[in-house]
């Protein structure tokens, strides 16, 4: 019984962390069809921002929840203005440009912080479920995942800004005809996506150490989750994160983390063979 609770918490944690690392990419790729290969580096920079802020004496929650998204959001804004905005609709060129950007960011961070592992301790202590002891920080990540996803959902669905954004993604010409500036909407959307990546990077930083190449660990998982999820930002990310998170954790618990990752990749291959448009290409089609 206690073990069942442990397993469920571990699964929820895996789902939430997949959703968190994919959220920024889901907004940028799902809505704007921009393949941002520097997504992993945005997460990595969020982590470094949080760690630097904590080491400078700032409260850890402020560092993770405010500083990290702010820094990476501003970076996203700069990147959009200088690079991405010239490349809308040119998918291959965007991939090349953002891949170059990811190499540049990795190189810069290596120059500043050195190619070493840095980290901070988690701020929450463990708690007990029956005979088992669990990490309190995992619960924090679950809550953060739920809040981020709910935030995106509510914004896109129930606010005027969300409506305009969705409209501009569907038909830029129509949005333009109605007096909205698509360029500006793209800019804001990309910035928000980058800020979400920074937030995720900040939240995950205390859990694992960071190196300048950490981004590489995230980017593949994020892309698999978003592409398997399909077009709908929230429903797609949540459904594929739930599927993959569950598979990974169940296999990891019954064997090793290596097999957990293998199982996730196999599941993704089979899924995309059966549903080439992703999960929301067939199910939950009218969702956000």
């Amino acid at each position: 019984m206690d073990f069942a609770v442990v397993v469920i918490v571990e699964i929820l944690y895996a789902v939430a962390s997949l959703a968190l690392i994919s959220a920024g990419l889901a907004v940028v790729f799902g809505m704007m069809r921009v393949i941002n290969l520097a997504h992993g580096e945005f997460l990595m920079l969020g982590g470094y921002s949080a760690i630097v802020a904590v080491k400078a004496g700032i409260n850890i929650y402020v560092a993770m929840l405010v500083v990290a998204p702010l820094v990476v959001g501003i970076l996203g804004l700069i990147v959009e203005r200088l690079v991405i905005r010239f490349l809308y609709g040119r998918m291959l060129d965007t991939m090349l440009a953002t891949w170059g950007l990811s190499l540049l960011l990795t190189g810069l961070v290596t120059m500043i912080f050195g190619n070493t592992t840095t980290g901070i301790s988690t701020p929450i202590s463990g708690y007990r479920v029956g005979a088992y002891q669990l990490s309190g920080y995992n619960l924090f990540i679950i809550v953060a995942g739920v809040l981020v996803m709910a935030g995106i959902l509510l914004t896109l669905r129930y606010t005027r800004v969300g409506l305009i954004a969705r409209g501009a993604m569907q038909s830029p010409d129509m949005a333009s005809g109605l007096g909205h500036n698509p360029q500006r909407i793209y800019m804001i959307t990309f910035t928000v996506g980058a800020a979400l990546s920074g937030l995720a990077g900040g939240i995950l930083a205390p859990l694992t150490g960071l190196t300048p190449t950490t981004g590489g660990l995230y980017v593949a998982k994020a892309f698999i989750t978003v592409i398997s999820g399909g077009a709908a930002v929230v429903a797609g990310t949540l459904s594929s994160a739930s599927l993959f998170g569950t598979i990974t954790q169940v296999v990891t618990l019954s064997s090793t983390p290596v097999w957990g990752d293998v199982a996730m990749l196999i599941a993704a291959v089979i899924l995309l063979r059966l549903l080439p448009q992703g999960i929301t290409g067939r199910f939950f089609r009218r969702q956000v």
Binding site: F3, V6, V7, E10, Y13, A14, S17, G114, N115, T116, T117, G119, S121, T122, I124, S125, G126, Y127, R128, A131, Y132, Q133, L134, S135, G136, Y137, N138, P206, L207, T208, G209, T211, L217, Q249, T252, L253, T256, P257, V258, G260
Partner: protein
């Protein structure tokens, strides 16, 4: 005189050849060159940087005492950036281009196996100064670090006497982890215990949440960790964050080797048991002199960066120097023969003696507990021979042996 392109090229080519020859003659004439091949950046730099410093310190001391065989010793340092292919490349460079008298280096067992064949082929003497899984049997290499029969044999019975019989093993997934896990299982069994489970982790795994749940489900009396490198350090963080520290105790065959106890907080590190050759607390004149010399060269604040592998590197360098002194030359075969007389030195970790049959070392072992980010000695075992390698390797009988033996369970 007109200078056309042809005469210019001919002239400059001749000049550069002359310069190269002169340079090489100088290099071979005035100094004895030694190579340091360590990871000075990348995820293993916490291991490599102090090893490089230990080399510098040893060389300074050797030169201050008048050098070796009438010559000064010069270090040529390579940074392998925590990338195995660079070991092969720099190993060749050290042997063929720089023609060094000895190579000190290699950290992970994978890196040792990347340069060992190269150095053997090109007849360049090699010192591997890292605690490792044992069993290398090759006349061209000297291993000055502790092996399982020295560290694990001290650690496991002590841990079992304190905590109980059931062990759960976590290990890094490459040759070191695979082989050391077998040794841990071997000693657990020898002492009447039981290994519940062995899990292996690739070096880039950093999320151990599911593993921590699995360990609790298995209910071991203690956990033995042979995790390696920066990413695996997050295991200790997550273990403490889950509040496991007070519930299941831990011993490690790797923690502390790269001074991880000062990277982890007091709450994360306290109480973990280790067994190696050296602790800053060892109260001998040799150790005190070593610590004082380190403080003088690198600053008092840097003393806490010294770790097991740095001390082993220092001792390896000093053993080699003693052999060169004894042989009166840095010639490879003569130095090997001098070492094979059972040469010994008094190092910071105590007396260390070359075992002629295996080219490993007989040395003191200390069992330690992490307390307040320091390694506190709980038990000292003097002069432990490398029994594991002695059981499988005899270089006196088979001088051409070139293998790494593995323990069979």
């Amino acid at each position: 005189m007109t200078l056309d392109r042809r005469t210019f090229l001919a002239g400059s080519a001749a000049a550069s050849i002359a310069a190269t020859i002169a340079g090489r003659a100088m290099a071979q004439g005035a100094t004895i060159d030694v190579a340091s091949i360590h990871d000075l950046s990348g995820i293993f730099d916490a291991y490599g940087k102090p090893m490089e410093k230990a080399m510098q310190l040893a060389i300074d001391e050797i030169n201050a005492a008048g050098g070796l065989a009438g010559k000064q010793v010069k270090e040529i340092s390579y940074d392998t950036q925590s990338q195995i292919p660079l070991y092969t490349q720099f190993g060749q460079q050290a042997a063929l281009k720089d023609k060094v008298a000895v190579v000190m280096g290699g950290i992970l067992s994978a890196s040792r196996e990347a340069i060992r064949p190269t150095l053997k082929r090109f007849n360049t003497l090699y010192f591997y100064n890292t605690q490792y899984e044992g069993g290398v049997c090759d006349r061209n290499i000297f291993c000055t670090g502790v092996t399982p029969s020295q560290s694990v044999e001290a650690l496991i019975p002590y841990a079992m006497s304190r905590w109980g019989k059931k062990a759960y093993i976590l290990a890094a997934d490459y040759n070191y982890g695979q082989i050391i896990a077998k040794w841990v299982q071997h000693y657990v069994k020898m002492n009447g215990g039981e290994t519940l489970q062995v899990d292996f982790f690739p070096l880039d795994v950093s999320d151990f949440g599911a593993t921590i749940a699995k360990i609790q489900a298995a209910k071991p009396d203690f956990v033995v960790s042979a995790l390696v490198g920066g990413a695996h350090l997050s295991f200790y963080r997550q273990w403490a964050a889950a509040g496991m520290k007070s519930r299941i105790p831990m011993a490690s065959t790797t923690l502390g080797v790269g001074n991880e106890q000062i990277v982890l907080t007091k709450e994360e590190g306290d109480g973990i048991l280790l067994a190696y050759n050296w602790s800053a607390e060892i109260d001998t004149p040799a150790n005190k002199a070593f610590l004082a010399a380190w403080a003088k060269k690198f600053g008092q604040a840097d003393v806490k960066e010294i770790h097991e592998l740095a001390v082993a590197t220092y001792q390896g360098m000093m053993l080699w120097a003693a052999a060169v002194k004894k042989a009166g030359t840095a010639d490879r075969m003569k130095v090997i023969e001098a070492l094979e007389t059972g040469l010994s030195i008094e190092g910071p970790g105590g007396k260390i003696t070359v075992d002629p049959k295996t080219h490993h070392c007989t040395l003191d072992v200390v069992v330690m507990e992490i307390k307040d980010q320091k390694l506190t000695v709980v038990k000292q075992i003097p002069q432990v021979p490398p029994l594991d390698t002695q059981a499988v390797c005899d270089l006196k009988a088979n001088p051409n042996s070139n293998v790494q033996h593995e323990i069979k369970i």
